[in-house]
């Protein structure tokens, strides 16, 4: 995985496999404190104690089609390379929260990458069944993308319509660009 947005897409796909109906993705870029936080929270079926202990083992998986599970182990590696830490909080039956913390300016910290594409992919694949909330903070500014609001405004037109998806992607790009402006003191 070249960047964090690909990891996020991958981990959020886990949430969909866990039958989540709501996924919340949070990115907090705190440049002043030199910290980057990435959090994926879902209300899926959660992980058993056993699964949590073994989740970072590449040879553990709940899938039937193959015998390896590399999503979380690869995120753990990305975190480790940037002197960060990864926490998995989960309770069987009530969802999972994955939090990755990085040293912001660490030379081996992967770039955030293209979040607009990650969100568009998630909406394309699961937008009908899952509510997706994406929050991004930077420079004291905040961007929020919430499919519940969008679905309400679309009133009956499917959120997975290709034209809608392309529109949403452009909106996210615009929204994230606005975060780059420094706040006036």
């Amino acid at each position: 995985m070249q960047d964090l947005s690909l990891h996020i897409l991958d981990i959020a796909e886990n949430s969909t496999a866990a039958r989540a109906t709501r996924i919340e993705i949070t990115i907090e870029e705190n440049i002043r404190k030199n910290r980057l936080l990435v959090r994926i929270r879902d209300n899926g079926r959660g992980m058993t104690k056993h699964a949590q202990i073994r989740a970072l083992d590449p040879f553990y998986t709940t899938k039937k089609v193959r015998r390896v599970g590399l999503g979380l182990p690869m995120l753990a590696q990305a975190v480790k390379e940037a002197d960060g830490n990864l926490t998995i909080r989960s309770r069987s039956g009530s969802g999972t929260t994955i939090t990755a913390r990085f040293v912001y300016d660490h030379i081996d910290r992967k770039p955030i990458g293209n979040m607009a594409e990650t969100i568009m992919n998630l909406v394309a694949g699961h937008g009908r069944d899952i509510d997706l909330v994406y929050k991004h903070r930077k420079n004291g500014r905040k961007y929020i993308f919430d499919t519940r609001i969008i679905k309400y405004q679309l009133r009956g037109v499917s959120i997975t319509n290709p034209e809608v998806l392309n529109f949403l992607k452009k909106e996210i790009i615009k929204g994230l660009k606005a975060l780059e402006k420094r706040r006036k003191k």
């Binding site: 796909e13 690869m74 992919n121 694949g125 009956g156 392309n166």
Partner: protein, 127 residues
């Protein structure tokens, strides 16, 4: 969600609704991009981007695009499954942005399977 102007979305909604109403559930093709860890690492998201860009550029209205998990053939990712209504699904492997554009052009639009990228005709379980 302050940045999103309701007016913009309303306009888009009305536009899409006109075309969507006619074909509600009546699309001609479904394209599934395999988005497991293996697919993502091999570039499945770029395939999706290329696909969405081309669908917009060519103003294709009767195709739906979705994602699925790992199909168990990780070494041949990125993969997509193309289903034309009434025909058996076709699985394409080792894709690039160029190849997916060719598939859209040939298989989706003209109904001609791109044999050099195809793995098999048929289906598998994705979960």
């Amino acid at each position: 969600m302050k940045k999103l102007k309701i007016g913009d979305l309303d306009k888009l909604r009305d536009k899409v609704k006109r075309t969507a109403e006619v074909r509600e559930g009546k699309y001609k093709a479904k394209i599934t991009v395999h988005m497991g860890t293996c697919g993502i690492a091999a570039g499945a998201r770029d395939i999706m981007t290329a696909l969405m860009d081309d669908i917009e550029r060519k103003k294709i209205k009767d195709v739906i695009v979705t994602t699925s998990g790992c199909a168990g053939l990780c070494s041949r990712e990125p993969m997509v499954t193309v289903e034309i209504v009434g025909k058996p699904p076709v699985k394409y492997i080792d894709l690039t942005a160029e190849k997916i554009k060719k598939i859209l052009n040939s298989h989706i639009e003209k109904g001609v399977i791109v044999k050099e990228c195809a793995l098999a005709i048929g289906s598998e379980r994705t979960h």
